[in-house]
């Protein structure tokens, strides 16, 4: 206890250097813990991209492909699913609801998805449903709902006329002049890929292609499937919810073994997790960088303690004269570095919490990133323990030097 107060007051005696040293440790710890928080927030909101959907079903192909093309509006779908197959599975006794997805057209770099009212009823992200900032869902084949990014970037609002292009590219060769849409609603910001897409009815998408076919427009993309008049065209994928969650795996197996049409059914939560593991490896890099800054902070501390030793040789001689052994001198210096690391690490964590408390609402509004003020998790405790014990450990270096010089000096330090 006496030693602790000695160490504390010795640090206070060199207040400026002590503060700067602790501050550099605090900043590096704040970076480390802050990255951890942001990382968890990003992972949370990534995992929340789609919720409540038990299976996503597309044509036979890669799992990631199905996830990317339906949920993220990226990459090209594996193929198409016939309307008959969709209806067959929609009628399956384990299935509670379905959302058909017809994908393939684009408007100035934004995907257009043909779907039904079920999308607005059943689709969930972060436990929220799709709502409208203004207007309403498309009610007929001339109406289209748009994501908030689309509205912002292209300057559309309810009532705007939209002319669609075929194919996924930003540069459109064949604009569907013959079948212009009217914006029926702007979807409230979701911070998911929904914001970057347009949603028409299934009929709207069909009508667009039929009108174009009769007006002799240019076709890009998959060739039209020959079908009888009045027959529904195929869709790209469908989302479904089960009546009983526990039947999901069974249903997935049945679908993957469909004899009539080869399908791939994925569980979105699992697929998201797999995808995160691939793209999330960037977080390891971030963490390594943060750990390095902590290392730099600790090295700074050792340097500061080393630099102070020269001016403290007299102090060491006095301590020796009143009976302090080398062990006490080593303990004093190790305690000093341990205290600096502790103060720095604590301040760093406090900094992160204060920062989150101050910025969380702004961050949530701007990026849809939910940073939570949860109590210190095991990761934070582990980092704190790591920094404090590393700080104490590196304190042994200057302490050893002080010990050596106090032995060599005896009671007459050369100044």
């Amino acid at each position: 206890m006496f030693l602790l107060s000695l160490a504390w007051r010795s640090l206070g005696n060199r207040r400026l250097i002590s503060l700067l040293t602790a501050a550099s440790i605090a900043l590096s710890v704040a970076l480390l813990v802050g990255i951890e928080h942001v990382r968890m927030g990003v992972r949370e909101s990534f995992a929340g991209t789609i919720r409540g959907t038990d299976l996503i079903v597309g044509a036979r192909g890669g799992t990631t492909q199905v996830l990317l093309s339906t949920v993220f509006g990226m990459s090209v779908p594996n193929g198409s699913v016939s309307w008959a197959t969709y209806e067959r599975w929609a009628a399956h006794p384990a299935v509670k609801w379905t959302i058909p997805y017809a994908l393939g057209d684009a408007h100035r770099g934004h995907r257009v998805i043909g779907t039904t009212a079920a999308f607005f009823e059943h689709y969930r992200f972060r436990d929220q449903s799709v709502t409208f900032a203004s207007g309403k869902a498309p009610a007929n084949d001339r109406e289209i709902a748009i994501g908030s990014d689309v509205a912002e970037r292209l300057g559309y609002s309810v009532g705007s006329k939209v002319t669609l292009a075929h194919g996924l590219g930003a540069v459109s060769f064949a604009e569907h002049e013959a079948h212009p849409f009217t914006v029926s609603g702007v979807i409230a910001r979701t911070f998911t890929p929904i914001d970057r897409a347009l949603y028409s009815t299934l009929d709207g998408l069909t009508a667009m292609h039929d009108d174009e076919a009769t007006s002799g427009g240019l076709m890009m993309g998959p060739p039209p499937v020959a079908r009888a008049p009045g027959e529904q065209p195929p869709i790209t994928a469908f989302l479904l919810g089960t009546k009983n969650r526990f039947e999901t795996l069974q249903l997935q197996r049945e679908m993957n073994e469909d004899k009539l049409e080869p399908l791939t059914a994925i569980i979105p939560g699992l697929a998201l997790q797999q995808l995160w593991q691939t793209i999330g490896s960037a977080e390891v890099g971030l963490r390594v960088v943060a750990l390095f800054t902590v290392l730099v902070g600790l090295i700074g501390m050792v340097v500061a303690l080393y630099a102070s030793l020269e001016s403290r040789r007299r102090e060491m001689a006095i301590l020796r004269a009143v009976g302090a052994g080398p062990r006490l001198i080593v303990s004093l210096l190790v305690l000093e570095s341990g205290l600096l690391a502790l103060v720095g690490a604590t301040a760093g964590v406090a900094l992160v919490y204060a920062g989150i408390a101050a910025a969380r609402s702004a961050v949530e509004a701007r990026f849809g990133l939910a940073l939570t003020l949860h109590p210190l998790g095991s990761a934070e405790w582990a980092y704190l323990a790591l920094v404090v014990s590393a700080g104490t450990l590196v304190g042994v270096l200057p302490a050893w030097r002080a010990y050596r010089s106090s032995l060599a000096d005896g009671l007459s330090p050369k100044l």
């Binding site: 102090e315 006095i318 009143v322 009976g323 302090a324 052994g325 062990r327 005896g410 007459s412």
Partner: protein
């Protein structure tokens, strides 16, 4: 209780007893080569020698901070050269007072905390305070050394003379058997020096402590019971001066 304490309790043994001491700093040649020196209990001894004659080194040997190459150092009946370094540190904390030439004080402690430092480091020394608690003893010593009003000041606010008195108070708290002073008056003017010596002697007498006082200033010698010329005793120093 350690053997150190048991030895110190013996009333008959001298305060300091040196036999055939040879000491060299690491990698250097002998600085001290001293066949014999004895200082009695409660004796006030003036140790004179020019700069570089090994005075501070000798005090380091007495304090058990330095260990001779050969020979025995007995302090208050305890053979320091036979103790482990930890035991020597404990012995020093318990039985020794040390006053430096200057810069006696830990800068980040108050005057009171500087004075009580030996009692904080050595429970045995604290236990020797008869009845009085550490704070009361510090206040008592400060009053006798005419620095009572400085007790709660930061040490940086003190003049050199005041600092030296605080150093004496620290050396004398808990009445150690031996007080060692390394040119404590060299930074004081003559008026302050005389008053300092008066106070130092009175306190040592009160505590019954033997005093080994080192200086190159021979004019102080008359005030001591006994004067030792280190160059006469120290064969290493003689060699150095001749060669």
């Amino acid at each position: 209780m350690s053997s150190a304490t048991a030895g110190a309790a013996g009333t008959s043994s001298p305060a300091v007893e040196l036999r055939d001491i040879r000491f060299a700093y690491k990698g250097g040649r002998d600085v001290i080569d001293l066949p014999a020196l004895t200082i009695g209990q409660g004796e006030r001894c003036f140790l004179h020698g020019p700069s570089g004659s090994g005075k501070t080194t000798l005090l380091g040997l007495l304090a058990g901070v330095l260990v001779p190459r050969t020979g025995t150092v007995r302090v208050l009946g305890t053979t320091l050269s036979g103790l482990t370094s930890g035991a020597r540190d404990r012995f020093r904390a318990e039985h020794l007072g040390y006053v430096f030439q200057m810069f006696n004080l830990i800068p980040y402690l108050s005057v009171r905390e500087n004075i009580t430092l030996p009692c904080r480091l050595s429970p045995a020394r604290r236990a020797r305070l008869k009845g009085a608690d550490v704070g009361a003893e510090a206040a008592h010593l400060a009053e006798r050394l005419e620095i009572a009003e400085l007790l709660d000041k930061p040490v940086t606010a003190l003049s050199v003379g005041q600092q030296q008195r605080v150093g004496v108070a620290r050396a004398l708290i808990g009445a150690p058997g031996l007080v060692v002073c390394d040119e404590p008056t060299s930074a004081l003017d003559s008026d302050r020096r005389d008053r300092f010596l008066e106070l130092l002697f009175a306190r040592c007498e009160e505590a019954g402590s033997a005093l080994v006082f080192v200086s190159h200033d021979l004019s102080l010698a008359a005030r001591f019971q006994r004067t030792v010329e280190l160059p006469e005793l120290n064969k290493a120093a003689v060699r150095e001066m001749v060669g």
